[in-house]
């Protein structure tokens, strides 16, 4: 049956297969107690970064626009998700349902951010999106850093100084300016992370392989040709970009609810670049590459701890990144891999 399917849907199925198999293996190892505490603590953030990488790949690889502020959308999702989850703490006692609502709200806020940035900027030609998203990420970081948000019986209170928050006796301050969100109850689970990865894969792969997805890729490959056959540039660009931003918001909500405190500075330019590194190393437009690169590169620096090389750990990580970048672009090595795997054809590595 698989033989009869198109190449794209076969490749998509394999992606689901990889994620499900890894999830089952991890669950078995956890059940058997054969997994270190450290590795277990990395699972949920790794899921978040995988979703981030897949969603950024939609913007960078499929749409062909450079976004340097993906962490800004993650930040929006994280803080809106945390506020929603904390506000609903008494109304909804089930953590799983609260997490679901928080992730949906995170996705909505991420999407709104995407619309705000995308509507004016995606009409322009050139690298404007890179510049504007870069600024957007910094603006979000600085705004959240000065905000104090609390909740009490009267609803949400937002101020720029703690003394102006005016909470009632039973009110709680959720976001405390530069401290970020403090005292968050951790409700994220690895299973939720796994489901989010699968949902992201379903959304992105179906979008890419749909009529709309082909229009988006046509815009990437030749804008003038695409416009000449009647493809609306702004509509399709906005579709891809907002989907990407909303998924980043969902990942942010899962991420924020995995730690008892989260500061806005966590979602800075470096985080955006980190995700971009995952995408570029995994291959532009290559969704499976994004998944593997995000998982391996996120876990790698923590694995290096076991070598007891404290000061040089991050240095070695950087060297590994450079080596991977060089090796994956080396024509001789590519030819060598071509010989080892005989069926490898040119063009096979594109959109999978």
């Amino acid at each position: 049956m698989i033989k009869n399917m198109s190449k794209a849907s076969r490749s998509g199925l394999i992606n689901y297969g990889i994620v499900i198999v890894v999830f089952i293996i991890v669950k078995i190892l956890m059940g058997a107690g054969a997994m270190s505490n450290m590795l277990q603590s990395l699972l949920i953030p790794a899921c978040c970064y995988i979703v981030m990488a897949i969603s950024l790949n939609l913007t960078v690889g499929v749409l062909g626009e450079l976004s340097l502020g993906h962490a800004g959308f993650m930040s929006l999702g994280a803080f809106s998700g945390i506020i929603a989850a904390t506000a609903l703490q008494t109304a909804i006692p089930f953590p799983a349902l609260r997490l679901l609502i928080a992730i949906i709200i995170g996705a909505i806020f991420g999407g709104i951010g995407g619309v705000i940035v995308g509507v004016p900027v995606l009409r322009l030609r050139g690298d404007y999106l890179a510049i504007v998203t870069l600024a957007f990420g910094e603006i979000i970081k600085n705004i959240i850093t000065v905000l104090y948000i609390g909740i009490d019986a009267n609803g949400l209170h937002i101020a720029t100084k703690q003394s102006n928050l005016n909470l009632l006796e039973d009110g709680i301050a959720i976001v405390k300016g530069p401290m970020g969100a403090v005292g968050v109850s951790k409700i994220s689970t690895f299973t939720a992370g796994f489901i989010l990865v699968i949902v992201t894969l379903i959304i992105v792969q179906n979008l890419v392989n749909s009529r709309q997805g082909r229009a988006i890729q046509a815009l990437r490959d030749n804008r003038i040709a695409a416009e000449s056959v009647g493809i609306s540039v702004t509509k399709y660009k906005l579709m891809a970009f907002v989907t990407s931003a909303a998924l980043a918001g969902a990942a942010g909500a899962l991420f924020g609810l995995n730690f008892s405190s989260t500061g806005a500075v966590r979602f800075d330019f470096n985080t955006s670049i980190l995700v971009l590194v995952f995408v570029v190393l995994g291959g532009l437009g290559n969704i499976r590459g994004s998944i593997i690169a995000a998982a391996v590169l996120y876990i790698l620096p923590e694995m290096l701890r076991s070598l007891n090389i404290n000061e040089y750990r991050m240095l070695i990580y950087a060297v590994i990144l450079i080596i991977v970048m060089l090796v994956s672009n080396n024509p001789q090595l590519k030819a060598l891999f071509g010989k080892i795997i005989p069926k490898r054809r040119k063009g096979d590595a594109e959109i999978v």
Binding site: I18, P45, Q162, R305
Partner: protein, 407 residues
Amino acid sequence: MKKVISMLLVVAMCLCVLAACGAPSTPSTPDNSGSSQPSGTTTPPADGAVVIKIGGIGPLTGGAAIYGIATQNGAQIAVDEINALGGDIQIEYDFQDDTNVAETAVSAYNNLKDWGVNIIYGTTTTSPCVTISSETYADRYFQLTPSASSPDVTAGKDNVFQMCFTDPNQGVTAANYVSEEGLASKVAVLYNNGDAYSTGIAQGFIDQANTLGLEVVTEQTFPADTNTDFNVQLTACKDAGAELVFMPIYYTPASLVLAQASQMGYDPLFFGGDGMDGILGIEGFDTALAEGLMLLTPFNATATDERTVSFVEKYEATYGEIPNQFAADGYDCIYAIYEACQQVDGLADMIANGDNAALCDALIAIFTSGEFSVDGLTGLGMTWQANGEVSKAPMVVGVENGAYVTK
């Protein structure tokens, strides 16, 4: 076919990664010096001695590395001293890098748990510490931080104690000092509103100043990212007629503030918090600019008491620099843990069984008993309150002729 092969390869790779690091997390026995040999211990433990595993967390790389390295080194000196005594309690010490990021701190902490840690020392910086303290609270590990100063670190967690003053307390102490000494009646506050430490102290200072009747003529802020030009803020302070500028900020921006104030001919009294400690050591900084600067710091490296002199000597000999207050806080932390452990009944059994929860409860009882006090480099007769805050006498130093003088 190729797809199947690549999928199998991915699965195999994941299995390798997971299996390689999937060491079971059973607490290792004290005399088991396994593969993860900590960097610290130089003397082999004496026979029959109890070996406590203390795990430290702090930034060893990145922008906050100087604080993490100082706390790591200060504690290392205390560990070496205690192990050299050859007493009943020996310490195994490991320090993990968290790059000042909360999520990295969590994996550093879990790495220590896999190592079989008994007591957590750290974390050095505040925002990772807020995350880690709720982890240790859930897992019941005793935690003592040298320098994470936000009240959020200890709020609602009985197992977390601080060696440093909390931020608001530092602000209150500074306001009290300014008022009691009659240093000024009109004060300006200049702080970094992108930094929890700075805003915490400033808020405490302003509240206390209002209570004491000090007039806060202006509050000036700057963001965490752009802190090189302070002319606007200084002009505002000058126009408001401030006689004293309170700036609870780190020493790097503070050195620029002092230089720019001197350029514009504005010469109020500058007063800083403990983050100002280190300003005299900046390369290329004209110490004449800092003349008259006052700061709150728990530690003065030029003090002449026996312990400080010995500590500074050892630190300089080993690491080639003058220790700052972070190193001294770290040193005191290890001694506080050591002295408390000496009072724990059945310590050997708890360690042998890996019963960290019992050890945690025993240490909490000792720390909050009111009778437990520690004499350290950063204060004499330090005691702890039930909420985890330290009680010790604050110290104000002034800069005279390019050196600290205790006021």
